[in-house]
């Protein structure tokens, strides 16, 4: 994979976006996501009302890939139901694992499609999926609570 296929404009812009990088007032759920092998450490906060994700925030720090993936994810899930967010997370992770390849289906991921080829760079896969695994964890905890 060439660098210009990885550090696309979509990814570099989202990686620097501050839109979701602020703490929420009284979040309904706050979950930490860590990549123990590289030290990336993020925190996902969600404000949920009537089963709909009103706000999503990502704190902490990580590389351009993990920050862009987190920012795109936060954009995508805001305004969606928790069930839809869960489905999108499964879709994103399916895309990375190449178990979901149907273009029509993947279009739902919108800008997150920018990570479609990250599996060609195995060393960076864990960066791209960190936020999404954290989302899955957050949604699981929401269900329990």
């Amino acid at each position: 994979m060439e660098l210009n296929e990885l550090y696309t404009e979509v990814i570099t812009q989202y990686s620097r976006s501050q839109k979701h990088r602020h703490p929420l007032d009284n979040p309904d759920i706050k979950v930490q996501g860590v990549n123990p092998s590289c030290g990336d450490d993020i925190s996902l906060e969600l404000k949920v009302n009537g089963g709909t994700i009103k706000n999503a925030a990502i704190l902490g720090s990580g590389c351009a890939i993990s920050m862009a993936s987190a920012a795109i994810m936060a954009d995508l899930i805001e305004g969606k139901s928790t069930a839809e967010a869960e489905r999108l997370a499964a879709l994103f992770l399916g895309m990375i694992r190449k178990t979901v390849t149907e273009e029509n289906e993947l279009e739902e991921l919108e800008d997150a499609l920018a990570f479609q080829n990250i599996s060609n760079m195995p060393a960076r896969v864990k960066c791209a999926v960190l936020a999404w695994h954290t989302l899955e964890e957050a949604l699981k905890k929401l269900k329990v609570s």
Binding site: E9, T12, Q13, S15, G39, S61, C63, A123, R124
Partner: protein
């Protein structure tokens, strides 16, 4: 061009673009010279059998390979006896084995273990567990902002309450060489034993454990041109005699009754299970190779190369060295950050130019927190690296910020 490069087959493999690799992750593992590869292959071709067990020539031969390597390690590190050399599978296992002996030292609740905050997790977590088990206290010696361990810290933290001190000879993050002689002297005056993690020192300088008076000294083969899967724990014989084994079974026994067993004398007592004799043969060949270079000559060449690397890195805009940016008491491990670009992205961008460096927390999270960084890039040198490697590193770094949208710098 380094005159040693020709001995390393992997470093001569050009990529699709016709470039030789620039391998600068030597603090993680080193490449292997043909002599080491040949020694491992030769062991399996002509000498392979289970050592210490068979009543036949081939087993005797395998035993000779194992025990002659032990003698070679003994001589290489200046140990008094071959019996003080225990083969393990890694430096991590060596340090865990040392920590297993903590009961000999930590007799009362509140006894202290003193660590440097710069320790690799392998010389930190085992002591956390030991402290929990023995209700001991962990006390840290803190470095200054450049990663140096000041004498004041050594003096104030090691006291009569201290029973064990665990410290690396050299840091895998900043390359700082710790004043290990001062640590050992202070610890011994206080009546404490010292466990030295020599993983980042043994490959880069002449080490004499007897001269240092280290009680324990751990390292691994794969960071000194040898194969992976072989570690060494040197310990003074008096400690080895009293230490409990780490693994039970196999050839570490003496007599086994139905209800109880007695164990072999060191080092066999600590070498339960069949040893990695092929790997040990490789370590032996690695020591021969390093001896043929000469450790003092190797160190002098690394100092020269480190000076060049620091000079070239200083020329890279927006780059900050994490750790000492002078040559005093340091190895060729250089950590740095590039403003605005996460170390993982730097590593990916350098990789596209055929350059391998490490990025991350380097298994030293408390140290990273102490230094106020989440992760760093780390370029680490060894004898086959060249000024051309460093030029390629510096040139690639100069273009790294551009990939993340920072204009032309």
């Amino acid at each position: 061009m380094s005159r040693y490069l020709k001995d390393f087959p992997l470093l001569q493999q050009v990529d699709k673009k016709g470039r030789l690799p620039v391998y600068l992750d030597n603090a993680a593992t080193t490449q292997k010279p043909q002599a080491v590869i040949d020694a491992v292959a030769s062991y399996y071709k002509v000498s392979n059998a289970n050592p210490h067990r068979g009543a036949y020539d081939l087993s005797v031969e395998a035993t000779k390979v194992l025990e002659s390597a032990r003698e070679k390690v003994k001589a290489f590190i200046g140990a008094g006896k071959a019996e003080e050399i225990v083969f393990t599978k890694s430096a991590t296992e060596s340090l865990n084995l040392a920590a297993k002996s903590c009961g000999m030292f930590l007799k009362e609740a509140g006894d202290e273990i003193v660590l440097a905050v710069s320790e690799h997790h392998s010389n930190l977590v085992p002591w956390q567990i030991a402290a929990q088990v023995r209700q001991a206290r962990l006390t840290y010696m803190y470095t200054d902002e450049s990663g140096r361990l000041p004498y004041e810290e050594i003096k104030s933290k090691i006291s009569e309450r201290t029973k064990l001190v665990a410290v690396a000879h050299a840091s895998n993050v900043t390359g700082s060489v710790n004043p290990i002689e001062q640590v050992i002297e202070r610890a011994h005056k206080a009546g404490a034993a010292v466990v030295v993690d020599g993983t980042q020192s043994i490959p880069h300088m002449a080490v004499d454990v007897a001269l240092l008076d280290a009680d324990f000294y751990a390292f691994s083969a794969h960071k000194m041109l040898g194969p992976m899967g072989v570690g060494v724990l040197y310990a003074k014989e008096k400690f080895l005699l009293d230490m409990p084994p780490l693994l039970y079974g196999g050839d570490m026994i003496e007599y086994v009754e139905e209800q109880s067993s007695t164990f072999a004398f060191p080092p066999q007592k600590f070498e339960g299970g069949t040893q990695n004799v092929g790997g040990v043969a490789g370590l032996s060949a690695a020591i021969d190779y390093l001896n043929s270079v000469g450790m003092n000559e190797l160190q002098a060449a690394e100092v020269e190369l480190t000076a060049y690397m620091l000079e070239r890195l200083h020329e890279v805009p927006h780059l900050k060295i994490v750790g000492p940016d002078c040559l005093d008491d340091r190895t060729g491990v250089v950590s740095f950050v590039l403003e605005g670009v996460h170390p993982h992205d730097v590593a990916t961008i350098l990789n596209a130019d055929g350059i391998a460096i490490r990025s991350g927390h380097h298994c030293a999270q408390p140290f990273m927190r102490h230094l106020g960084v989440q992760s760093t890039c780390r370029a680490s040198l060894y004898l086959y690296n060249t000024k051309e490697d460093i030029d390629r590193l510096a040139d690639s770094l100069k273009g790294a910020r551009r990939w993340l949208g920072y204009g032309t710098e």
